[in-house]
Subunit: 232 residues, 2 copies
Amino acid sequence: MNKINKDEALVVFSGGQDSTTCLFWAKRRFGKVHALTFRYGQKHSLEVEIAGKLAEKAGVDFHVMDVPLIGRLGSNSLTDPDIVMDQEKPEGSCPNTFVPGRNMFFLSIAAVLAREHGISHIVTGVSQTDFSGYPDCRDAFIKSLNVTLNLAMDEQFIIHTPLMWIDKAQTWALADEMGVLDVIRNETLTCYNGIPGDGCGHCPACRLRRDGLEKYLASRGQQADSPTAARY
Amino acid sequence: MNKINKDEALVVFSGGQDSTTCLFWAKRRFGKVHALTFRYGQKHSLEVEIAGKLAEKAGVDFHVMDVPLIGRLGSNSLTDPDIVMDQEKPEGSCPNTFVPGRNMFFLSIAAVLAREHGISHIVTGVSQTDFSGYPDCRDAFIKSLNVTLNLAMDEQFIIHTPLMWIDKAQTWALADEMGVLDVIRNETLTCYNGIPGDGCGHCPACRLRRDGLEKYLASRGQQADSPTAARY
């Protein structure tokens, strides 16, 4: 590492609800923020376009990296059009929306790039609370990876996981606190079927997102179908 | 993991002295061995060709994976023809032959492929003894990575490092014990300048390899320029 920019952070950024919340979270904490998005053979290439627009809106540097390898590595329903997506987590195994090693590769690549730019803070939106059976969203994995990356490159990276212990309702509350609930509700893409905003409504990602929103809005005395914008 | 093949191993294989020694080591311990070689933008594409021939000679399955990403990630003298190679480790930093994160990516990809094939044993030729300033050759890194990979995929990989605590002379001794000293001396490629066998003789990799060979042969009462084949 040539020099350490203590005030810069790199956010692993997909343009979904969680990483967009993290992007705004990082904006409040660091002087300069970079968003890093991966193109790895997702069925929905719209994801990268949406990520770019959100990064522009947030006023952060936007980087896209092509990693087709990750989509090719293990069979999964997010990159293979022939696989029908699991709607629930199968007993005793990961759902087939699990791309093996995905977060490992994303964060490792992020670390190499961060090192090149003298950045030691890396932010990711993984959450153990709503982890849906993905082992690489758990806190123990992230902490172990942080140590491994530091050992691999003799560096002192700090991986931040602002959503690790909060659920989807609390993630919406965090967005609201930061004044970006509407941007995240209307302009992010979480849906496995590639529909931005409230999405298709029936895939596992949409259900989790909507349940969280309903719970949060109910705590505020609102319903999910009332426009959240009315509040401002 | 669909089923566990306890008797199969995957060797991260470059066709150099160390990984070839590990390939033969694995052949003695496991019923079936796979060699996995990476094409990542090395200046010397001969490396992959040599690896294929050695795998054939050893009678193991040979897999090549293209990972151009790894060569592009950080500037280094092994993949960038504009960088002149460090001859010694610079004080306070890694030599520029260090490809940041390389072993991390190689072993992580190996783990994802191993998982797909139900293989839990992964073999790598890294050595802390002659680690030449590469942080990703140290034992602490490999053990931390082993834990990280298991957590990332909820699996039980076992990373084997037969050369971790032995020096180059002992690595030659191990090859000799297994009856493959000549194959490794004459048919592997370790030289940074892309010359097989005894190599260019002056790059850091050649010097390390030759010093080890001389030390080992001296312990047997031979000189490095006498044909080792004469012994058989």
